[in-house]
C-alpha cells in the first residue's frame, strides 16, 4: 500500500516540475524565482532578460569554470507565499545562484529559502538595505544601488550644480524604497544647510491617493516657490503627483529617485521640464559609455523593445559580479563565492563600479548619471558621485 501511495504522490508532485533537473557536475544552474505573472511581472521581466543576456554571453565565451550555465525558473506570481515556493522549487532543481524578485518585499521569501539552503541569492534590482545581510542574511546580495544614495546624490547635485537653495520634501509613504530616498535626502540636507541651503517644508502622501491637492495647497502657501522639490515616490502615484504639481502651476525643479526613470509615462505630463532622475546608465541612447549602447541594442534584439527603464541594468550586474566571484573562487560554494564578492572594491561593471563588504552587500555610493526631462525629452545632463558614501546609520534608519 505504502508503495502505491508513494508512487501516486510522486506522480502528483512531479507534474509540477518543469524539468526535474538534478545538479550534475557538467553544468552550473542559475534559478530565477521571479514574477512571470501578476503585479511584479512588469518589473521583474526586464531585469531577468538582462541577466539572461549576461548568462548567454558567458556561455558563448565558454561558460563559467568551463561549464555551461543552465537556467531554471519558477513563477512567484507576484505573491509572497508563492515566492517562498518558487524559491524552494528552483533550489530543488539544483540552483547554485537564485535570482529573486526586483522588489525586496516580494523577493525576500525566495531569498530566505536560498539563505536557509546555503545558496547565494541576488535581488535583481532591490534598493533596500534589507536585501542583503541586514535583512535576508549573509548570503544575500543586490545588483542595484541603495535608495538613500539616490536621494542624497540628487540633493547634493542640485545644490552644487544647479544652485538650488530652498528644498521641499514630499514623501509617499507607500514603500520602503520611497522612504529610503528621503532618508538619504535627510542625511544630506544638514550638510547642505551648513553651506547655505534650507529645507522650507515637508509633507507626506499616499501613492494611491486620488488627489494630492491638499499637499499642493501647502506648497503654494509658502511665501515663495521652493527651488527644488525632493519627490520620494514611485509608479504609479508618482506620475499623478508630478502631473498635479505641474497642473497647479508649481515649476520648481523636481528631484526624484531612479524609480521615475523611463520615457513610457511622459505622455501623461506633456511638456514636462525641470525634472531630474539619477540613473546607473542611460536608456535614451546618449550614455557616455558606448558599451551601454551595445547592450541596449542586444536587449532590443532579444526582447524586441528598448529597455523601459534603468532597472534593466542591475539584473545584468548581478550575474556579472557573481560570475566573476565564482571564477575567482573556482567554485560555486556559497562561502567561497561570498568571500570573493566581499573583496570587490569599485569592481568595474558595465553600469558603474560595485563594492561589497562584510557589512554591506549593497552600494552605499555610486556613480550616477543625471537625466533631465526637458519639454518632454529626457536626456543625460550630468554625472554625479556622492562626496562621501552614505553612512550605515543613515542607511539603517
Amino acid at each position: 500500500m505504502s508503495y502505491k501511495v508513494r508512487l501516486l504522490a510522486t506522480a502528483l508532485a512531479s507534474v509540477g516540475m518543469a524539468l526535474p533537473a538534478l545538479a550534475d557536475d557538467e553544468t552550473i544552474t542559475v534559478g530565477f524565482a521571479t514574477a512571470q505573472s501578476g503585479a511584479m511581472q512588469a518589473y521583474d521581466k526586464p531585469a531577468d532578460e538582462a541577466a539572461m543576456i549576461r548568462i548567454e554571453e558567458i556561455n558563448a565565451a565558454g561558460g563559467l569554470l568551463g561549464k555551461q550555465i543552465q537556467v531554471v525558473t519558477a513563477d512567484t506570481k507576484s505573491d509572497r507565499a508563492e515566492g517562498a515556493k518558487a524559491g524552494l522549487s528552483v533550489l530543488d532543481q539544483g540552483a547554485d545562484l537564485v535570482i529573486v524578485s526586483c522588489d525586496y518585499d516580494f523577493g525576500a521569501p525566495a531569498a530566505l529559502a536560498a539563505q536557509d539552503a546555503g545558496i547565494v541569492s541576488f535581488f535583481s534590482c532591490a534598493e533596500s538595505v534589507k536585501a542583503g545581510i541586514q535583512g535576508v542574511g549573509p548570503l544575500s546580495f543586490s545588483g542595484s544601488v541603495l535608495a538613500p544614495v539616490q536621494g542624497a546624490a540628487m540633493a547634493e547635485w542640485a545644490f552644487k550644480e544647479k544652485d538650488a537653495k530652498t528644498f521641499y520634501k514630499l514623501l509617499d509613504t507607500w514603500t520602503v524604497y520611497n522612504k529610503g530616498i528621503c532618508d538619504g535626502f535627510d542625511w544630506m540636507m544638514p550638510k547642505l544647510e551648513e553651506q547655505g541651503a534650507k529645507l522650507v517644508g515637508e509633507d507626506t502622501f499616499k501613492n494611491e491617493d486620488a488627489s494630492i491637492a491638499a499637499q499642493i495647497t501647502r506648497i503654494k502657501a509658502l511665501p515663495e516657490e521652493p527651488d527644488a522639490i525632493m519627490l520620494c515616490t514611485m509608479m504609479p502615484g508618482g506620475v499623478s503627483a508630478v502631473k498635479q504639481l505641474r497642473a497647479a502651476g508649481i515649476n520648481s525643479m523636481i528631484l526624484n529617485g531612479s524609480g521615475m526613470d523611463g520615457s513610457y509615462w511622459l505622455s501623461a505630463v506633456p511638456d514636462l521640464s525641470n525634472f531630474y532622475i539619477p540613473v546607473q546608465a542611460s536608456i535614451y541612447g546618449d550614455d557616455p559609455n558606448p558599451d551601454v549602447k551595445k547592450f541596449n541594442e542586444a536587449y532590443k534584439a532579444k526582447t524586441g523593445a528598448d529597455p523601459s527603464s534603468q532597472y534593466v541594468y542591475p539584473g545584468y550586474v548581478a550575474v556579472d559580479v557573481w560570475s566573476k566571484a565564482v571564477e575567482r573562487a573556482g567554485t560555486t560554494e556559497a562561502e567561497a563565492v561570498v568571500a570573493e564578492l566581499e573583496k570587490m572594491k569599485d569592481e568595474p561593471t558595465l553600469f558603474g563600479p560595485r563594492t561589497f563588504t562584510s557589512e554591506l552587500h549593497h552600494q552605499a555610493n555610486a556613480r550616477y548619471l543625471v537625466v533631465n526631462v526637458d519639454k518632454g525629452k529626457p536626456g543625460v545632463v550630468g554625472e554625479w558621485t556622492l562626496s562621501e558614501p552614505v553612512p550605515m546609520e543613515a542607511i539603517l534608519k
Partner: protein, 364 residues
C-alpha cells in the same frame, strides 16, 4: 428573499434546546464529534501524502493550505455562527503575525529593525509554538476590546465597521515604523518548513470551532442567526454571544497569523489586507458559510483547483507535447469557476450541512 429556512445542519438545534441542561449537550457532543474527526483525518491524509512525495515546493503548498484552513475556520466561527459578514478578521491575523515576529526574531536583529518595541519584548526569544499561543491570545484580547464596541452593530453596518478596523490596523502597522517596520517586510522570523505544526494548528482550529459550536453560547448564537426574534424572546443576549464568537475567532485568526509568519518567514502589512480577506471569505462562501465542513472543504477544494491551474500554467507534458495555459489564465479561470459554483449552489458547496459518517435520522 425567503423566510429564514430551517437549518439542515446536524448541529442545528432549535432555540428551545439552548435552555437544555448539560447531559443533553454531552449527547450533542457525542452526536457531532464525527465532523471534526473526519475533517481532521482528511487533513492528516493530505499531510501524510505530501510527506511521502518529499517535494519541497509541494510541501510548502500544503503548508499554505493548512494555514488557510486555520484562517477560514477562524472566519467560520464568527461569520458562520452569527450570520454577520466580517471584512475585518484579517486584522487579527495581522496582529497575530506581527506578535509572532516580535516574539521570535533574534534580539540583535530586533534591536536594529524594530527599536520601538518595549525592552522586555526586545530581549525575548521564544520557540515558535509558544509565540503562536501568545499571538493567538493577543489577537483574542484585541478582538475582545474591539468586539465590545463593534458587536452592538449588526448587518452591513457591522461588516463595514469591521472593515474599518482592518483598514485602521493596516494603516497603523504600515506606518508605525519603529514597532512594525512600516511597509517593509519584517524578516528574521524562524521559518518552519515541516508540515506537522501547521497540521496541528489547523486541527486545533477545527476542534475549537466545533467546541464553540456545541457550547451554550454557540448554540444560542446560531439560534439567533436563524430566528432572531424567537432567540431574543427566549433571553439570548445577542451582542454578548456574538462577542464570544468574535473573541474565539479572533484568537484562531491570530494563530493563523502566527502560522503565516512562520511559513514564509516575513510579515508585511499588505499581506494581511484585502487580498487575503477576499480569498479567505471566498473560500468560506464557496464551501458553505454556515458549515464547519464547508469551511475546511472549501479551502481544500479551491486550493486544489488553484494548484491544478498553476500546474497547467507551468505546462503539462503529455506524450511529447507540452500544453501550457497562458500566464495569468489561472486567476481568470479561478474567478470564473467560483462564479459558476456560486450560481449553481448559492449557499456554497455544503450549504449548512456537515460531514458525518451516517446520514442520521432527524428527531421529530
Amino acid at each position: 428573499m425567503t423566510a429564514a429556512s430551517p437549518t439542515m445542519s446536524a448541529q442545528a438545534v432549535p432555540p428551545s434546546a439552548v435552555a437544555e441542561h448539560k447531559p443533553a449537550r454531552f449527547a450533542l457532543a457525542r452526536k457531532t464529534i464525527m465532523t471534526p474527526i473526519l475533517l481532521s483525518l482528511l487533513l492528516v491524509a493530505i499531510a501524510v501524502l505530501t510527506y511521502l512525495t518529499g517535494s519541497r515546493p509541494f510541501n510548502q503548498t500544503v503548508i499554505d493550505v493548512f494555514v488557510r484552513v486555520t484562517l477560514v475556520v477562524g472566519l467560520y466561527i464568527f461569520i458562520g455562527n452569527s450570520g454577520v459578514l466580517s471584512f475585518g478578521h484579517i486584522a487579527f491575523t495581522c496582529l497575530g503575525g506581527y506578535a509572532a515576529a516580535w516574539l521570535t526574531i533574534n534580539p540583535i536583529m530586533k534591536a536594529s529593525a524594530l527599536p520601538g518595541l518595549p525592552q522586555f519584548i526586545l530581549d525575548l526569544r521564544l520557540p515558535y509554538w509558544q509565540s503562536a499561543v501568545i499571538a493567538a491570545i493577543f489577537a483574542g484580547v484585541a478582538a475582545l476590546i474591539l468586539g465590545k464596541v463593534l458587536m452592538r452593530l449588526s448587518g452591513i453596518a457591522a461588516s463595514i465597521a469591521t472593515f474599518a478596523v482592518l483598514a485602521m490596523i493596516n494603516t497603523i502597522y504600515a506606518n508605525w515604523d519603529s514597532v512594525t517596520g512600516g511597509t517593509s517586510s519584517v524578516v528574521g522570523i524562524p521559518i518552519i518548513r515541516t508540515i506537522w505544526p501547521y497540521l496541528i494548528g489547523a486541527i486545533i482550529a477545527i476542534f475549537l470551532a466545533w467546541a464553540h459550536a456545541i457550547s451554550r453560547s454557540g448554540l444560542a448564537l446560531r439560534a439567533a442567526r436563524d430566528e432572531p426574534t424567537a432567540a431574543a424572546a427566549s433571553g439570548v443576549d445577542i451582542p454578548r454571544e456574538r462577542l464570544v464568537a468574535f473573541v474565539v475567532s479572533g484568537a484562531v485568526m491570530g494563530l493563523g497569523g502566527a502560522l503565516t509568519a512562520h511559513s514564509v518567514g516575513v510579515v508585511t502589512p499588505d499581506t494581511f489586507y484585502l487580498g487575503l480577506t477576499f480569498i479567505t471569505l471566498s473560500m468560506l462562501v464557496v464551501g458553505g458559510m454556515g458549515s464547519l465542513s464547508g469551511a475546511v472543504i472549501g479551502v481544500v477544494l479551491l486550493s486544489a483547483l488553484i494548484q491544478i491551474l498553476r500546474w497547467m500554467e507551468a505546462g503539462i507534458s503529455i506524450a511529447e507535447t507540452t500544453i501550457a495555459l497562458p500566464k495569468g489564465v489561472q486567476e481568470i479561470a479561478l474567478g470564473v469557476i467560483m462564479i459558476v459554483i456560486l450560481a449553481l449552489r448559492p449557499s456554497g458547496l455544503l450549504g449548512n450541512r456537515e460531514v458525518t459518517l451516517f446520514q442520521r435520522k432527524r428527531n421529530r
